[in-house]
Assembly symmetry: D3
Homo-oligomer: 67 residues x 6
């Protein structure tokens, strides 16, 4: 019955890619900890690049600076 | 001073329904733990069905399959 | 398939009280949004009073000041 | 390598204000705990006022009531 | 620069198993979305079985009932 | 009424340092967005180094490797 939350920047991940994240992390929990996939919940949050910071700067600013 | 986060799929919950969740869970914390409602915070996240998985599949796919 | 996270300060909530929170919020989601209780997940976090702040002060300090 | 999540109501915070939150909280973690800013992650969530409750009411309702 | 939070019940996961979760989900984000592993953060929360509910019951109660 | 969650590794932060994080981030939200400090909630999570990963490795392993 694990719960997984994946946060990524909103930069065009497709429904198929998000489905791969859901199936992949669910399988990982089966393989490593023998968790029941039927009650494993995965939630993906896509976050605007203005709203995500690393190194004290937003991703928007870092992208503009070529980082 | 509890903090409650409720995550549901984005499928048309109305403002009135969300208000019922807010008042209901706040009252529950008063009833069970005598918490002060004035500092009880509730945040509701509505998540796209492509971004929510259970059983290794997205809710979008499960809805299409009639699950 | 909702997911609910309830954060409270660690101040002696009993297993029975936590069970009441779990059953109460699960029922609330049935009543308000007709959600399936079998896939509704609730996680309760109990947080040390040194690690919870409101009004710019920790709960530990507020308790000592009689707030 | 801290991770900080800031949740605010969606009421017009500008990109510049969000950049100030990102740089400010990153610097705070440097100053207080000597954390490495290069691996400090900050995520800001902006939440609709219908989806945020305090005192058992949504912010939308509280704003209308002049609270 | 993704952030992943994995919540499981506290039931004896070893450091090695947790390392496998960290490396596995980091690699998944490389494979599916070409994310930079060096800034991918993973946090695992282990939750007491009294504090985790599904189907309106705590895991402690479900384990006792043989569910 | 913001809510802030700060996650750090559990490596001996003192009550005083945590109080500085609480007061500092509360003041930051006053300064940048004119938020009411009386309803600003801050929760600090301290996470075991086995349970925190970056670059695909746990912090425990990285510390041992001198990273």
């Amino acid at each position: 019955m694990p719960y997984v939350n994946i946060k990524i920047t909103r930069e065009g991940a497709t429904a198929e890619q998000k489905a791969q994240l859901i199936s992949g992390v669910t399988q990982l929990l089966v393989d490593v900890l023998n968790k029941n996939p039927n009650t494993t919940v995965v939630v993906i949050d896509e976050v605007e690049t203005d709203n995500w910071g690393i190194g004290g700067e937003s991703i928007t600013v870092r992208r503009q600076a070529g980082k």
